[in-house]
Symmetry: C2
Subunit: 381 residues, 2 copies
């Protein structure tokens, strides 16, 4: 039995339009298509910044000095290792796992191995946030290698997080264009205010649960196909289409069948998603570097047809799909890479929630029967 | 930097008073002190029903027939086993784990071993809900034995969930009074509308994430000391007080120091928490059966002093503390037992969210600076 529709206009289904808290981390103007991290426009950050710099910005609400940035890059590298006990268990069960299920289970497990497990001071929480962000790329890289029966590769020292991740994943030095594209993709996916996974992290953190728990809640939420799964769906569509000349026919048929075209439209943005432009450029540049522009060209064609037929613009998921595909990343890792980036925003929000906490507990409107009389089981029909 | 306080009156901090959805599962009237599961008053259920019957009620929104109930009891038993690979890993790392961290990690891990992993039909989701509820008691019992270096005990067939849990935990047949008290405690903790953990489960489920993920998000949230941890704090207080004659002095001193007395007052109930009465009776009966009434007597004395000095009534956490203590359950398992019961309500809400889904995505009010200009790192101070 689905619940009856709300008769009470005060029921805010999906909390749409409800302002649940104040935050200094991120501003979105859906009408203007503007995305701002702690005061800085996403276009500035995508063109000039790095993931590590954005990470510092989200945590500290200001850009780092050169020295602070160098320390952060170093600390992320130092903390990227996974304890041996966890690694050997991951190796054993990797073939059973989905990428997001792996991330949920193993980030949860890392909590028990944190050197400050049980510590709740702001400093300990910041250290834990750093360890979480540092270890997620290693988990994803190791998982993909283990499930294929490959051995771990230890990347050389001195790499940034994006490059280290690609090195761990592919077992060799990435092209500079790939490394740069991954870094920009991480910048663009880092933060997006109260999306469902971040909001879940804040609901969890509102009980003063630990930061690994709140991050696990976020991963569990991002795993849902309505949230993190869209770019995987985009790539399935691109594969199904196969070539540029088949784009129009495919989209027309899908729309006629009232099927959803993933990667278009956004609950918040009424214009083009400001992140999509940068990913589009990256996708094109990387296609050329790899000598494989097919995915990009199909994407451009789909964008044009969707604008013409539905008036819809692509969102962040649309071009990240062809970008990751061109890099050779397995499709079923896409959402976990989204999580790898968004772990920066999640931890920033969890730390902000701790600084100014209030338990998050809304109400439900009960629409079931009342006053039922308990009937002993022998007298039930 | 904590965020500035909201100047906008539309910011619903903590979502207090906001109705986030309709639901047919639970009604709470805080003014009257009324708690209703799917139409049935909690007093009726506590006096006449069993945990298995309540589980059926929460999932199906009606009481079971005799045959349906027998099938459910049987299915819960059949599904209570944990795969060997998981058990041997749990044995290995148990000494490192907290009970709630264990539950979060291992429920997450069970997802990968579910025979219907990847299936998303309503029937598959109901089967998974059953497996989750069936396996949590086994996980908690095994965890406690493993961390003490004890071996697993396989309980005899034909037990209900409460009795099986106590058997697994203590490695022997529980007293009938203990078994009954545990069953009533499970009934009373099963469901409580949109508390933080259940709401987190619904936020997760709103992305159509799988039921293990949404349950993991709930466990991660229950772990917070502002939510699930209160009965552990109560027992720490009882131990600190030590005897009935020291109660008044202790409470007066704590209140003078403006320290919080756990187990009193509730954000929703303005009267006595209707669940507390039943736990109080159980706690008294069990104390007599065990020949150890000290915890109960101290609790009664604290209740009296708190009513006199602060006008506050005990909540569900207050008497569950002395009840579990009298049973000999380790204090650090209390919250996980709350979770063992609440897994019924969580899964009921997740299934309800799936039946009538809407992504849950509120807004944040941005209170940080705007229009900052990106300064190259070499020019930063």
């Amino acid at each position: 039995m689905p619940p009856k529709p709300a008769e009470n206009p005060n029921v805010k289904v999906g909390l749409e339009g409800v302002i649940a808290a104040t935050s200094q981390i991120c501003a979105i103007d859906g009408e203007k298509g503007e995305l701002v991290y702690a005061g800085y426009n996403i276009h500035d950050l995508a063109e000039n910044s790095t993931f590590e710099e954005v990470l510092f910005l989200l945590w500290h609400l200001r850009l780092p000095t050169k020295r602070e940035l160098e320390k952060l890059v170093h600390d992320l590298e130092e903390n990227s290792e996974i304890p041996h006990e966890i690694m050997s268990f991951l190796e054993k069960i990797a073939p059973r796992l989905s990428a997001m299920g792996m991330l949920r289970t193993f980030v949860s497990m890392l909590a028990h191995f944190d050197p400050e497990a049980g510590e709740r001071s702001p400093a300990a929480n910041e250290n834990k946030a750093l360890r979480i962000v540092a270890k997620i790329p290693t988990l994803i890289g190791a998982f993909d290698r283990f499930r294929k029966g490959d051995r771990l590769v230890v990347p050389p020292k001195g790499l940034n997080l994006a490059t280290r991740f690609l090195h761990q994943l592919f077992g060799k030095e990435p092209l500079p264009e790939a490394s740069k594209a991954m870094d920009v993709a991480l910048v663009l996916h880092a933060e997006h205010s109260f999306n469902a996974s971040t909001f879940a992290a804040r609901v969890a953190a509102g009980t003063l649960t630990d930061i690994y728990s709140a991050t696990t809640a976020a991963i569990a939420t991002l795993k849902g196909p309505l949230h993190g799964g869209a770019n995987e769906e985009v790539i399935k569509m691109l594969r199904q289409i196969g070539s540029v000349d088949r784009v129009r026919g495919f989209i027309e048929e899908e729309l006629a069948e009232k099927r959803r075209i993933f990667g278009f439209g956004h609950r918040v943005y009424k214009t083009m998603d400001p992140r999509a432009t940068h990913l589009m450029k990256m996708s094109e540049a990387l296609g050329k570097a790899h000598g494989e522009t097919k995915w990009f060209e199909m994407s451009i064609a789909i964008q044009k047809v969707m604008k013409e037929l539905k008036g819809l613009d692509p969102n962040v998921d649309f071009y990240s799909a062809s970008l990751y595909q061109t890099m050779g990343i397995p499709v079923d890792l896409f959402t976990s890479i989204f999580g790898m980036s968004r772990s920066s925003g999640w931890t920033a929000h969890i730390l902000e929630q701790y600084r100014n906490n209030r338990l998050i507990r809304p109400l439900a409107e009960y629409t079931g029967p009342r006053g039922l009389k308990y009937v002993p089981i022998d007298q039930r029909k």
